[in-house]
Point group: C2
Chain length 233, copies 2
């Protein structure tokens, strides 16, 4: 994404569309963390042991601390959590309503795959924003190392019963499909955010070819993650 030249200090540049885009970016990212906390906490109820429950709960807690960072940054910008995040509530709630895991393994795959795709996407988008916002997004998205736990548990389950692989691979495909459907919906609803990502009249953001490259990278990383779980994409 070397072709993208983010503005140096855009939040003070007075461009209201840019500022709205950054607030949207923080809002959609922060709410994603808060709702992920919510869902992972609930899904930890599917765990076979208390230690496993605690491991998924720890992933949920990491998401919550990320949310806190975003909330604080929004506060610095004078924007409340509810103002910035409510516009994205329906999209996340529909995503999670359509992807409620039916067992512990589906919950693990969802936590791993969903977290991974979201992190890839937001990290790319952050290339188009000012350095301070970008740094915050990168910090929030840094892998916290909990994914080893998921890989270990899913691989163990596949060792125990290889037939599970087909079901989980289908499940991962459904997660991606639902995520794309909601992302499309958000892009249509939130012009300022879409302008950040795909570029406005002033040439910031990605052009169509770059957007294609972005999807290629997201798809490739997703396939690699599935491979680590022992699943085909």
């Amino acid at each position: 994404m070397a072709a993208v030249t983010p503005p140096a200090s855009p939040l003070s540049s007075g461009d209201p569309t840019y500022r709205a885009g950054v607030v949207d970016l923080l809002g959609v990212l922060g709410l994603g963390e808060l709702i992920a906390f919510d869902r992972m906490s609930a899904d930890s109820g599917l765990a076979p042991t208390l230690a496993d429950k605690a491991a998924l709960a720890a992933m949920a807690v990491t998401e919550f601390h990320h949310f806190e960072r975003i909330r604080d940054r929004l506060g610095d910008l004078g924007v409340s959590v509810d103002e910035a995040m409510t516009p994205f509530r329906t999209a996340y709630e529909e995503f999670h309503a359509n992807t409620a895991p039916s067992d512990w393994l589906e919950g693990l795959v969802k936590a791993y795959v969903g977290d991974g795709i979201a992190a890839d996407f937001y990290r790319e988008v952050a290339e188009a924003v000012d350095p301070e916002t970008r740094e915050l997004v990168r910090e929030v998205l840094a892998d916290s190392g909990h994914s080893d736990f998921v890989v270990d548990r899913v691989r163990q389950a596949l060792d125990d019963d290889p037939r599970v692989a087909g079901r989980l691979a289908l499940w991962a495909r459904r997660l991606v499909g639902e995520a794309l459907a909601q992302a499309q919906r958000v892009a249509v609803d939130r012009e300022a955010l879409a302008a950040l990502v795909v570029g406005g009249a002033d040439g910031d953001g990605l052009d169509l070819a770059q957007l294609g490259d972005l999807f290629t990278r997201l798809t490739r990383n997703h396939a690699e993650r599935l491979g680590r779980l022992g699943l085909s994409s």
Copy 2:
């Protein structure tokens, strides 16, 4: 509780009943934190705004970090989470099944009252154990300041509609009744833990008069907490 003289280094003293009691104490306390995390996370779904949801989620996350401290200590003692905590699972699950809040205010009162009573009780019990365990219990139970948020929200609700007070006071009484019922059950099931609290043949722990004093203090503190919420006990 000045009459109680805790053993100086009892975990290395080779007394198996004492060690079992301490493992039980850590187990019942740690599971309480983990399940409280679970329930508060779920109850945060009752919040009217995302900011309120995040505030209750933050209380849940604090409970989870307390759980982590207990888990680590159990690990030092060579005891797994599942080994130490599973014996208390039914009691907590029944408590929470019988006290599922029907709205946001009941969820707040439960978080505040439940947390308060549990902290009072465990802090008193910790007087009867070795200094290292006692210090850990005290640290884990230190008020993390989130209760101001609950007091503020409940008082605001009572200002808006004073009729809510009667219902919430009844709710608080039910919480205490259910907690006592489950505590009684645990005391019957777990002899080593009961011996820590009420004293065995060797005279450690509380005698009957001291146990009466303990309940008096718990009741008084509970009434004070309700008073801070603007409720009568």
